[in-house]
Amino acid sequence: MEMLFTKYFEVGSMVLFGVGFMTLLLHNNLIKKIIGMNIMDTAVFLFFIAKGYIDGREAPIVRGFHKGVEAYVNPVPAALMLTGIVIAVSVTAFALALTVKIYEKYGTIELDEIMKMRGD
């Protein structure tokens, strides 16, 4: 129970993951769905980065001379999450392009109205 108050980054990222998941799943508006997807992804990135962070160490950049492995935080999650951001941006752009197409063809971006229409 006390981990709720000491590991606040992880707890916060879990709450954000829930909020993003619910926004992606339950909202009818497509733009809000896409924003929810972005929130969900960044919450997972925050979880990863918080796992790589070690208190009292500096960023993994060598300034002047190398201070040994013990002086820096774990650089692997940062490198992975950079790839994750690229993926999130490309999926977002693709989904927004589909949203524009949907509006051109159906005249609305509310998903429940679109699903009621027959596609013909």
Binding site: A59, I61, V86
Partner: protein, 139 residues
């Protein structure tokens, strides 16, 4: 957009944005930055040019054909160079090892710098492509 103040200010600002993005791309392998972040900023400068000067002027600078060719050539260059590195590393052929690089010297990173430049070009072009496709429907 016919606004003299915007045009004059952006004439001064755009080169500085581009120089900053090139700084970020060139420092990517030794300090924070890299091809993706720098390329995004370079794409932002192209987007600013497009918004201020309109479609005609921007198409003279970057036509659709030139954009596609730049993107594809950078991607092929990236694939071939990275594949060469992968295959020599995986097959234990020690033709040319990547040097580890010393902080503060830009050229000491082996071929990570050309790879970063290729990534920067691709990302800048893709950001510009996204923007034009969303803004006016054509490049």
């Amino acid at each position: 957009m016919k606004n003299t103040i915007l045009k004059e200010v952006s004439k001064i600002v755009i080169p500085f944005i581009q120089i900053f993005s090139i700084y970020i791309i060139f420092h990517g392998h030794l300090s924070p930055g890299g091809g993706f972040a720098g390329g995004t900023i370079f794409g932002a400068s192209l987007i600013l040019y497009r918004i201020v000067y309109g479609k005609g002027d921007a198409q003279k600078k970057i036509s659709y054909k030139r954009l596609m060719h730049l993107m594809c050539i950078s991607l092929i260059f990236y694939g071939v160079l990275k594949g060469y590195g992968f295959i020599t590393g995986g097959s234990y052929i020690d033709l040319f090892e990547i040097p580890l690089g010393t902080p503060g010297r830009i050229l000491s990173g082996g071929y990570i710098l050309p790879l970063n430049i290729a990534v920067g070009i691709v990302v800048a072009m893709v950001m510009y492509l996204f923007f034009t496709l969303f803004y006016e429907g054509e490049v």
